[in-house]
Amino acid sequence: MGKYIFKRVLLMIPTLLGAAILVFLLLRMAPGDICAVRYLGTGMAISEDQIQLCREQLGLDKPQLLQFFDFVWGYFIFDLGTSMWTGQPVAHEIGIRFELSLQVAVMATIVATVIAIPLGIISAVRQNTITDYVVRGFAIAGIAIPSFWLGLMIILGLLVVTQAWFGEPWMPPIQFKSIWEDPAHNLAQLIWPAVATGYRYSAVATRMTRSAMLEVLREDYVRTARAKGMTEKIVINRHALKNALLPVVTILALEFAFLMGGLVVTEQVFNLNGLGNLMVDGVERQDFTMTQNLVMLVVIVFVFTNLLTDLCYAWLDPRIRYS
């Protein structure tokens, strides 16, 4: 196992290097630069000298090879550089948003798991019944409804309902407070995006659970278990579910990795100061240092999540061995 993990970690290096080259080049291929965005967007008469001064101060006038070397070297000396927009260290900018993004990702994963696995099982066990149709309808709606629309409807719904019931409209807080600092405020803000995201996420997982369960329930070992006189509960939970979970775990893990940097729209709808919003800002402002590092962070999260998922397979299915 140790040897396997070591090999996988080594294989990450070319993956990360490839991602670094790609993101570096793609960012610089886009038209415009951060200095133009910073000064021209307000319509003021800014001289070309002023723009050039800005470029020099941000190091954009250096040769691109040197810029790439600085970017990669930063990982070896644990210095991610400074944001070209705010002038703050990138590690600090990511750090203040990481907790929020991680919490939303964890909460959404919990919401998705709590919804998806029971519904997927019920739907498979009661295949082609009314219950199955309702669950499938619920899942398809989850995939079809954009989470930003659902988010807006949640906020509007809260405003309208609270105004009708209590006379004063209420909406979730728009400023983040850590769960350790103010749990009630924190949950009042984050429960809604977790539900909006978790619902869509659960829809995919529900359909996967259902199809995996249907496949496993037709296996010989399930028939054997039933023939041995085991109760349906034991057959489902112990024999079928554990084997059906492999693809579900893969889906959940990939979605979790995606949520760490990809909650762009939901974060905007709920005004969450998370990594998704930071990514959007970075791209819009052409803040190269910020965007490069955020993309690399997402790549690293994906690569490690994949590794953990593979390791999880062995726990779920003892027949899987790593070498």
Binding site: A30, P31, G32, D33, A36, V37, R38, Y39, L40, G41, T42, G43, M44, A45, I46, S47, E48, Q50, L53, C54, Q57, W85, T86, G87, Q88, H92, E93, I96, R97, L152, I155, L156, L158, L159, Q163, E168, P169, W170, M171, P173, I174, Q175, F176, Q268, V269, F270, N271, N273, N277, L278, D281, E284, R285, Q286
Partner: protein, 538 residues
């Protein structure tokens, strides 16, 4: 009564009317205490007023600083009503034929760190703004082209010597970005220190900032205006999405957004909250233009450009677009209703401003035919922002189609839009805008001159007559003559040569919680943001 005073009075009455049901503010006794939560739609790269040009910097940080002079917070809709902030008494009258301004500086003004302000601090501040050392950024130094020197002969006197008398000087000094820094801070910490640090003499002190989230401030007890500020503090909450900014006011997570909302959002808030919402409205010192690219052969013939402006129904557009977009007023190159702006009688004489639309469009068709460009095909470059760019751009295309032009639209996000406009110059006609803070028409109209840094029509060096007219305007001290020259310039830029076409001037709409008192709308979202006079009626 001077033209300026009459204008101030008219605008004050107009603003009062625009406030609708809320009516003109009665004299109420301000209440002390409370935290004002307001929304800001973007995040500033830094806190340095001399370096930045965005409202996202002004709204959270202006209350940290004082200015030498400022727009009168009791009458901010007037473009000429300036009062002393750090100076004493009335604004000084210029001497030496209008070439010397001597300001007496308030005594005992404290910086937040306890330093005492003197004229030397203002001298250092203005020298940084007007004569920045090499490598130091100052984006508004061109506003002060008329200044020869700034000096502080003693701790209470600040003297500006001008190269020539100019009506643009006082408004330039009142620009809200001219934050007063301590000479000691500049000397000891360097010229970049204020990008990330705050030490001003304003009504509020910096408390906390979380990137991407908020800036928080508390009252400064040693503020130089007795009894102020009324608030205990404020919190500027960053929210990028308009839907959330509107709902935040509805759900009382914030009381106000100082930049403004479109008409639909105003109506939604009023419908949902009734008298708990107060609406203030004003003409906005921003104008939406279209700019034909004279680098392209199809736009080089003035008859084609005249046809573009003749096809546009500005009076009708004002009526209909103002229901859905943040534009309203028909105007020329100077801020509408300003003493230097054209009256309606003067405007209708320009191509494209006539009230007989049918005749204008017939003339447009005739000019196109004469130029051999009947059925002209071109592309309109537009910025990927709904309000007001995409809405007005789409309307413009409809207007041009009425005279047989075939126009397509290319919408680009801000960064590539500016890249196309400024660097690659790959456009036939582009949407464009001119947005300023203090109403200073003489400086603001520099946009229409081919050599201006923010003129993208690509005719630099090809219209010396217009350059000469503008230079004459800048150096003219007499108000009546300034007005005459402004008309000549307007006719040349918009009508005869039709280098640019003005669509409509922006219109600022600020719906806010009715418990916010003491804040009055100004013709710019950069103005009247010191917050020292704001209080909460809760």
């Amino acid at each position: 009564m001077s033209k300026y005073a009459r204008f101030a009075l008219a605008l004050a009455v107009g603003t009062g009317l625009a406030m609708g049901a809320s009516g003109p503010a009665k004299a109420e006794t301000p209440k002390k205490g409370g935290i004002l939560n307001f929304i800001v739609a973007a995040e500033s790269p830094s806190y340095d007023g001399h370096k930045e040009s965005t409202f996202a910097m002004v709204h959270p940080t202006r209350p940290f600083y004082s200015l030498l002079i400022r727009v009168n917070p009791e009458n901010p809709s007037s473009p000429t009503d300036f009062i002393c902030d750090l100076c004493v008494g009335d604004l000084p009258k210029p001497t030496d034929g209008g070439k010397t301004y001597t300001f007496k500086i308030k005594k005992g003004v404290k910086f937040h760190d306890g330093q005492t302000l003197t004229a030397k601090d203002l001298e250092a501040t203005y020298n940084k703004i007007i004569f920045p050392p090499e490598g130091v950024s100052s984006v508004r130094k061109s506003f002060f082209k008329m200044v020869e020197s700034v000096s502080a002969p003693d701790d209470e006197t600040l003297v500006f010597k001008l190269k020539f008398a100019s009506g643009a000087f006082i408004p330039a000094v009142a620009t809200p970005f001219n934050y007063t820094y301590s000479a000691k801070d500049l000397k000891e910490h360097g010229y970049d220190w204020h990008e990330k640090n705050v030490n001003g003499t304003g009504a509020f002190k910096f408390k906390e900032a979380v990137a991407g989230s908020h800036v928080e401030a508390v009252r400064f007890d040693d503020f130089h205006m007795a009894g102020k500020p009324y608030l205990d503090g404020y919190k500027a909450l960053i929210s990028r999405k308009m839907a959330i900014r509107v709902q935040a006011i509805r759900g009382d997570r914030a009381a106000i957004e100082f930049r403004g909302f479109p008409p639909k959002q105003r109506d939604d808030l009023v419908k949902a909250l009734g008298k708990e919402i107060t609406v203030q409205e004003s003409d906005w010192n921003c104008v939406l233009l279209y700019t034909p690219n004279q680098g392209r052969p199809i736009m080089q013939d003035p008859r084609v450009r005249q046809a573009l402006t003749l096809a546009v129904d500005r009076w009708g557009g004002s009526q209909h677009l103002s229901r859905i977009a943040i534009v309203k007023t028909v105007g020329g190159i100077a801020f509408p209703n300003h003493p230097l702006a054209a009256t309606k009688a003067e405007l209708v004489r320009l191509n494209g401003y006539g009230t007989d639309l049918k005749a204008s469009r017939e003339k447009a068709k005739k000019l196109l035919a004469e130029a051999g460009k009947a059925g002209l095909k071109f592309e309109l470059l537009n910025r990927g922002t709904d309000q007001p760019y995409k809405i007005v751009g789409t309307w413009l295309i409809g207007q041009w189609r009425q005279v047989g032009m075939e126009v397509t639209q290319r919408v680009e996000p801000t960064k590539s839009f500016y890249n196309s406009l400024r660097k690659t110059k790959e456009f036939d006609v582009s949407m464009d805008f001119n947005c300023q803070s203090v109403v200073n028409p003489i400086v603001d109209v520099s946009k229409y001159v081919g050599s201006a840094g923010n003129n993208y029509a690509n005719f630099a060096g090809k219209d010396q007559e217009l350059e000469d007219i503008y230079n004459q305007l800048v150096q003219e001290g007499d108000e009546a003559k300034q007005r005459e020259i402004m008309r000549v310039m307007e006719k040349r830029a918009l009508s005869d040569m039709a280098h640019e076409g003005i669509t409509l001037w922006w219109y600022k709409i600020n719906p806010h919680r009715s418990y916010v008192k003491g804040w009055k709308i100004a013709p710019s979202h950069y103005l009247n943001q010191s917050l020292d006079q704001v209080w909460l009626d809760k």
